[in-house]
Amino acid sequence: MTVVKADDLALTFQTNDGPVHALADVNLTVEKGDFVSFIGPSGCGKTTFLRCIAGLETPTGGSLTVNGMTPDEARRSRAYGYVFQAAGLYPWRTIAGNVRLPLEIMGYSRAEMAERIARVLELVELSGFEKKYPWQLSGGMQQRASIARALAFDADILLMDEPFGALDEIVRDHLNEQLLKLWARTEKTICFVTHSIPEAVYLSTRIVVMSPRPGRITDVIESPLPRERPLDIRDSTQFLEVAHRVREGLRAGHAYDQ
């Protein structure tokens, strides 16, 4: 089943310095259960594309459907959970309170809220931190809480915009591993923006390589790696081959003489 389908998608921002072509000729389909990473240098439109899928930006050309609907309809039917670059937890709410936020807005019953909060906090290994405030936790824990918040309601799609970009490598490895387990357990479709090649290769079933000016897709790589991935798979030849191809794609799309 196709979850995201983009045909000749384009988005041009009108600025005072003339039009900026954030996205041009983007063609992509994401199937249910895929883990798709978007990688590219800054300005390649990877975040913009994710925001288009979320209905936070409106494309200026081509067509884009999410679950067969327009992105805005999908947003209003609460089709996805979105994880931002920063955790963005509300400091006046506890961890449990932050996870409860979308549930309150969507009108879940009290009992169901409690059940879901307990379940997703267990999923991201934050059980026991319900009553803590975000500013009492480390950056990695805050980001895990924000993932729990995105998982709390029944969205089949998880959109993640460089969620681990601000974290150190050790925490990042750990969270990547947890994310794969979580993906296996929940069978969600994940779109993941990153600028880290190892992260993209380790996580994804498909890697979308993008390049800037205008933002466009230069390569789509189907990962030959198995779904079950221990951390040391990153030393296998297969992994290195994929990483190499991603690097080549980035180099071809990105003019370094600029």
Partner: protein, 282 residues
């Protein structure tokens, strides 16, 4: 002369004591933190008493603290009546009406951007009106009793409260607003779950500024006509009768009332915005 020397000696002693406490290793204990201002206050009061007596200062220029305390104790009933008239009726009702009206106006301005260009300049204009000019007009409109004082207070607190609330409601990040959008939250849900909590530190700034403005407004407005009680009325008539000890007793009562008023608002703020970096400890 002896009393003046005693005052200077006392000043030296008080100074030395506070220096000693400030330098001692136990300076962070609660007892030390309470003792320092208490010693300072007592030193100032006793010095005041000794100097006024020693130098024979006229009670019209500066009454001794004992005379002020005497007037305070003797006239408690009058002070209570004045307090009820000025603080409880004039200042507090004006404060609540003014702050509530400003809050509602801020919500309206926030909802309808058109009003932002229309209402804010008017609010600014009203805030620039001198209280000396507004008070007689309000007395003319609302009569001599507390209603006109409350009206002056409303005019005084409206603008600072409005500006702070408008600014507070705008104090959310793009990411926080996007998050609400991904949940497809409505206007009221965003307001109650995101924007009002985020605005609380600003709202409390407005409220705290308004507490002092309310008291000033209610007292000063009584200079322009009032029934025969009220703190401003008492101050202006006692000055005329050279009853300066009573003037000082009223000032003391006003200072205590103002401090308590501010303190209560600050305590509520602490309870509600404990999460804000300015309030949280460690």
């Amino acid at each position: 002369m002896g009393l003046v020397i005693a005052a200077l000696v006392l000043w030296g002693a008080g100074w030395m004591m506070n220096m000693a406490i400030a330098a001692s290793p136990r300076r962070t204990t609660l007892a030390a933190r309470v003792a320092v201002p208490v010693i300072f206050g007592i030193t100032v009061l006793v010095m005041w008493e000794l100097l006024v007596r020693g130098l024979g200062v006229s009670p019209i220029i500066l009454p001794a603290p004992s005379a002020i305390a005497g007037a305070f104790a003797e006239q408690t009933h009058t002070l209570w009546l004045d307090f009820r008239q000025t603080v409880l009726k004039g200042a507090l009702s004006g404060f609540f009406i003014g702050c509530a009206a400003a809050f509602a106006a801020a919500l309206a301005i926030d909802r309808v951007p058109f009003l932002q260009r229309g209402l804010l300049p008017i609010g600014n204009f009203v805030a620039a009106l001198p209280i000396i000019g507004v008070a007689p007009i309000m007395v003319g409109w609302f009569g001599f009793d507390w209603e006109s004082k409350a009206a002056v207070v409303v005019v005084m607190v409206f603008f600072p409260m409005l500006i702070n609330t408008v600014q507070g409601l705008a104090d959310t990040t793009a990411m926080q607003r996007d998050l609400m959008k991904t949940y497809s939250a409505g206007y009221w849900q965003s307001l109650f779950k995101l924007r009002l909590p985020a605005a609380l530190p600003f709202i409390f700034n407005g409220l705290k500024i308004s507490t002092t403005l309310a008291l000033i407004g209610a007292i000063v407005a009584e200079y322009f006509g009032s029934p025969t009680h009220g703190m401003g009325f008492r101050i202006s008539t006692e000055v005329g009768r050279l009853g300066l000890d009573m003037v000082w007793a009223e000032i003391t009562a006003a200072a205590i009332a103002g401090t308590c008023f501010y303190g209560v608002v600050a305590l509520i703020e602490r309870g509600l915005t404990f999460w804000h970096p300015s309030q949280r400890s460690g």
